[in-house]
């Protein structure tokens, strides 16, 4: 566990050293504040459009941080040849994968806390209320979705040679899941065979990341997700994360490092 934690700490420090997070946070804050300064019919209480814009930027920024940070972890170690002394410590390949995952996931968690604090402040400044339960659920679900994506990106960094191609592919997959995954079965039912079976199989196989996006509940001040359902969603995320990490480890175990 100490080994895994040591690797994770290095990844967190790397995120803090790099400028990605700071640039994305400043951009999010600037765009949100600029949109908030627009005079809309002389009514200073209009807030939901601002919440929507801010949450969209938070999601985009977090996806960029998670995917770009994770995609370069293993390729960078191989390129700089630091992976050899690291594995000679001795650190097993499983520990390396777990440490890298934990580091990226925790780093994203820290970034999310900062982003959501900013969002909460902006929202509270106009709505004068702080729905803590809703925000807590939203942050944790968001973090779990990033966990799945980080695991997928780690798997991708073993399959694909370059971090750029891996990052692009994971981005496209994530965007596809977030936008159409919910409707795939509906689409499948209106198709002829064999397309129907193929699309249905995709629908039941892919990790449904859109489940973790509760922006609409937050924007429209709707009640939080029932807690039992929420906990089930966390287990769903944990299962997919474990599955992708296991696949990454199995592939990495047999992969030559040169």
């Amino acid at each position: 566990m100490n080994v895994i934690w040591a690797i994770a700490t290095v990844v967190i420090k790397e995120l803090l050293r790099r400028k990605d997070f700071y640039v994305l946070f400043i951009l999010t804050a600037l765009i949100t504040l600029m949109m908030g300064s627009i005079n809309l019919f002389d009514d200073r209480n209009i807030v939901r459009y601002l919440k929507e814009i801010c949450l969209l930027l938070v999601w985009i920024s977090s996806l960029v941080i998670a995917i770009s940070t994770t995609a370069r972890q293993i390729p960078a170690e191989r390129e700089q040849r630091t992976i050899f002394p690291l594995l000679a410590k001795p650190v097993s390949r499983g520990q390396l994968i777990t440490g890298k995952f934990l580091g990226c996931w925790l780093a994203c968690g820290i970034a999310l806390v900062v982003f959501y604090l900013f969002f909460g402040l902006i929202s509270a400044s106009r709505e004068h209320e702080w729905p803590v339960a809703n925000y807590f659920q939203a942050v944790v679900l968001h973090w779990c979705a990033l966990g799945i994506l980080i695991a997928v990106t780690l798997l991708g960094s073993i399959v694909f040679a370059a971090p750029s191609s891996n990052g692009t592919i994971v981005f496209v997959i994530a965007a596809g899941i977030f936008t159409i995954a919910r409707h795939l079965h509906k689409v499948a039912l209106s198709m002829a065979e064999p397309a129907r079976t193929i699309v249905s199989a995709i629908y039941f196989t892919i990790p449904h990341l859109e489940l973790f996006d509760v922006r609409d509940l937050i924007i429209h001040n709707l009640p939080p997700v029932p807690w039992l359902i929420w906990v089930t969603a966390l287990f769903y995320a944990a299962a997919y994360t474990a599955l992708f990490l296991l696949a990454a480890w199995l592939m990495f175990r047999r992969r030559a490092l040169n």
Binding site: F41, V47, R48, H208, L211, D216, L217, H220
Partner: protein, 283 residues
């Protein structure tokens, strides 16, 4: 080979000379977007009109607190915007067919419905005395954006003005409608809505009558000869004129508007009955 410094200086001089020639030409070029009013018009040109309807729909999504059919659901059944129905901009079709989701198709669908708005609801107006604005103000940014993207989209102005009236914000409603009228000087819909603002806000019935009469003239100019005229709007204009004339005691005028209404009403017998009541002095 000249020195790099000299090359840079030559290039800079060439660029500067070219700029002094091109800039005045560009400013007078008819295709230049810099002459267009507004940031969006300059950046997006006419392509911005494509997105106007998207933001009008977005306002309707906010009105339903996020519960809205996706393109996959909309393909099944076309429907009009509820914010526009409530505003009287289009004919009301009721709340039928609002269960877009239907029964869950599988366990993921059933489970997923807990994570997004999956029940039909509306933003409710707050009638608390002294409270001028309610949650319906949240739809306004999208209507304003829709109007900025396509100033010829009359619905954006009339729907926004209706909701501003609901919030007792008559001044902003009038300003926004006047902005719409500048972009669409012949719009009978905007004139009609402007009349409602004057009738309800400052209670200026003279101005309201003038605007509604002008709206009726514009309707006759634009719609009367169409194969499928906007009869719903004609009925609306006439209804308000009838009410106004009855209040003012101009019974003959009220009857003449009712006669116009009778021609397009889906229930002409009821209109005729009302005409007879007025003629008999039962207001």
């Amino acid at each position: 080979m000249p020195s790099p410094g000299l090359s840079l200086a030559c290039l800079f001089t060439f660029c500067f000379t070219l700029a002094t020639f091109l800039l005045p030409w560009f400013q007078h070029w008819s295709g230049s977007r810099s002459q267009q009013a507004g940031f969006l018009a300059t950046v997006m040109g006419d392509s911005r009109r494509l997105f106007a309807n998207h933001f009008l729909v977005k306002a309707d999504v906010y009105f339903h607190r996020g519960y809205y059919p996706s393109i996959f659901d909309q393909a099944k059944e076309a429907h009009s915007l509820h914010i526009a129905e409530d505003a009287g901009a289009v004919e009301e079709k009721g709340e039928e067919g609002t269960d877009y989701l239907g029964q869950p198709k599988d366990w993921i669908d059933r489970f997923g419905r807990n994570f997004y708005p999956s029940r039909h609801s509306h933003l409710e107006h707050d009638d608390t005395p002294g409270k001028s604005t309610g949650p319906e103000r949240e739809i306004l940014p999208w209507l304003k954006l829709s109007a900025s993207l396509d100033p010829q989209k009359v619905e954006s102005y009339t729907v926004a003005a209706y909701w501003l009236r609901q919030m007792n914000n008559y001044e902003e409603a009038e300003n926004f409608l006047r902005e719409g009228l500048r972009a669409n000087p012949n719009s009978y819909e905007i004139l009609f809505e402007l009349g409602r603002v004057y009738a309800e806000g400052p209670k200026d019935t003279r101005m309201a009558r003038n605007l509604w009469e002008l709206a009726l003239r514009r309707w006759n100019e634009q719609e009367a000869n169409k194969p499928e005229p906007n009869n719903f709007m004609l009925s609306q204009i006439c209804t308000y004129l009838v009410e106004l004339e009855l209040k003012e005691g101009n019974l003959a005028k009220a009857v003449s508007y009712l006669e116009t209404m009778k021609k397009v009403s889906p229930n002409p017998d009821a209109v005729q009955k009302r005409i007879e009541e007025i003629k008999q002095g039962k207001n």
